[in-house]
């Protein structure tokens, strides 16, 4: 077992524990019934996605400042994991919306901005795939990641800025009974651990992928270093 497998095992175990808390510990919602249990993972994965995209933003800014390859790999890892968690948020949200709102989708500000978020970072992944690996692709992707992050506060504050069908913040408004709040906080912590472990593993994969094309890495370093003028 290498150290990545050692990290992955407890992360998965924590998610199973969270599932136990969601289905066995948390009380059933009196209005919505069992379907309300979607809430715990739906909101947690949205927060995990915000975190992942913040990693993309940070990695991009650091890369543009000092061309650190590690920051670029971190951004790549964050984007992929963030898209996964945004997908989870969207799919769970749709499954929840069908019984409660009567439709899978409505063009509400939060739903729309979350879908746009998914599209932006899917575009980021496409840039990574289509641009030449190395300095240029990393720079372009960093710019996309920085511009794309503008949508994260829009998603977060959409429920306050516009009148939406999607409910507003329930955590900071103290609208949850203590058992539900405890279950939510535990699920959120587990999801964040899972996201961090996924980013770490993806970071390792990106490092190995970079290592397998040494010619590109070498080329990039030749371009970046300015050789001194020969002394006559």
């Amino acid at each position: 077992m290498n150290k990545y497998e050692k990290a992955a095992a407890p992360a998965v175990a924590l998610m199973l524990l969270a599932a136990g808390a969601i289905f066995l510990f948390a009380p059933t919602d009196s209005l919505q019934g069992p379907v309300q249990r979607i809430f715990y993972l739906h909101v947690s994965s949205a927060i995990a996605a915000y975190g992942c995209f913040a990693v993309v933003l940070l990695g991009g800014v650091i890369y543009l400042r000092n061309e650190s390859l590690a920051a670029d790999r971190l951004a790549r890892a964050g984007a992929l994991v963030g898209v996964v968690f945004t997908t989870v948020t969207l799919v769970m949200g749709m499954l929840w919306a069908k019984p409660i709102w009567g439709t899978f989708w409505t063009w509400d500000a939060r739903l729309t901005s979350t879908l746009v978020l998914w599209i932006i970072y899917a575009g980021y992944l496409l840039v990574r795939r289509l641009a030449e690996p190395g300095r240029q692709g990393a720079r372009f992707a960093a710019v996309v990641g920085i511009f794309g992050f503008i949508d994260v506060p829009v998603v977060h504050f959409s429920v306050t800025w516009w009148r939406t069908q999607h409910p507003g913040p329930v955590i900071i408004n103290d609208a949850l009974p203590p058992e539900m709040l405890a279950t939510f906080l535990f699920t959120m912590a587990c999801t964040l651990v899972l996201a961090a472990v996924m980013i770490a593993i993806r970071y390792r994969i990106e490092t190995l992928a970079d290592g397998s094309v040494p010619a590109v890495a070498e080329q990039a370093s030749v371009v970046t270093t300015r050789e001194p003028e020969p002394v006559q």
Partner: protein
């Protein structure tokens, strides 16, 4: 600072002169705009009752796709003749070169809007008033700065025609939301025109500043 402005104006003049001599883009876009209105007519089954409610949507759809073509072309000629590299080798700052290209592309898109707005009035019977024109022009500024940034980027990537809309359209949404609302109000819907315009100006400032900061990293080699 003044030399940067001179460089930007020179680059813009070069692009506009090239367009004037070849007369490729604006006539093609003007034809595209009229064609798009014809397609909208069949797609929406337009009659005198629903024309005014559909027209703002058609306006933005057509403008967005015409913009994608205009900004995509802005760097196509440079790529085909590898002249961008030559321009970047001069001591001129990449941001000034980018500003010049963006300015020229904006003027060309405004030329295409000069066809679109009267055509919309002619075919859809919507009013061609100053509020409509100002809202469209304000949205054009921000859309052009973003569109040119990503056009400069995808010019060096494979499958650029595919990638330009995917990267640009999501970030144009703020302009379509605010500009669309302003045009709807100007064409008779209820709402606050001033609020939508204030939002448009905010987005213009935000994206013009952000793109000029990012231009260095996209153009510089």
């Amino acid at each position: 600072m003044t030399s940067s402005i001179a460089v930007a104006l020179a680059v813009a003049r070069k692009d506009l002169t090239a367009e004037w001599r070849t007369r490729e883009l604006v006539p093609a876009l003007a034809q595209f705009v009229v064609l798009a209105l014809v397609i909208a007519n069949f797609g929406f089954q337009i009659d005198s009752r629903n024309a005014s409610s559909i027209a703002p949507g058609v306006l933005w759809l057509v403008l967005v796709f015409a913009g994608l073509v205009a900004f995509g072309r802005a760097f196509a000629a440079e790529r085909e003749q590898a002249s961008l590299e030559a321009m970047l080798m001069t001591p001129a700052s990449p941001v000034a070169i980018f500003a010049g290209k963006a300015l020229a592309a904006t003027i060309l898109l405004v030329g295409c809007e000069a066809v679109l707005l009267p055509a919309l009035t002619l075919f859809f019977g919507t009013p061609l008033t100053a509020p409509v024109v100002v809202a469209v022009l304000l949205a054009t500024i921000g859309m052009a700065s973003l569109g040119c940034l990503f056009a400069a980027m995808v010019a060096r990537i494979r499958a650029r025609e595919l990638l330009l809309p995917l990267l640009t359209l999501p970030l144009w949404i703020p302009f379509i939301v605010a500009g669309g609302h302003a045009v709807q109000v100007a064409m008779g819907a209820s709402g606050s025109y001033d609020q939508a315009m204030a939002l448009l100006v905010d987005f213009d400032i935000l994206f013009v500043v952000l793109t000029s900061l990012a231009a260095r990293f996209v153009l510089d080699e």
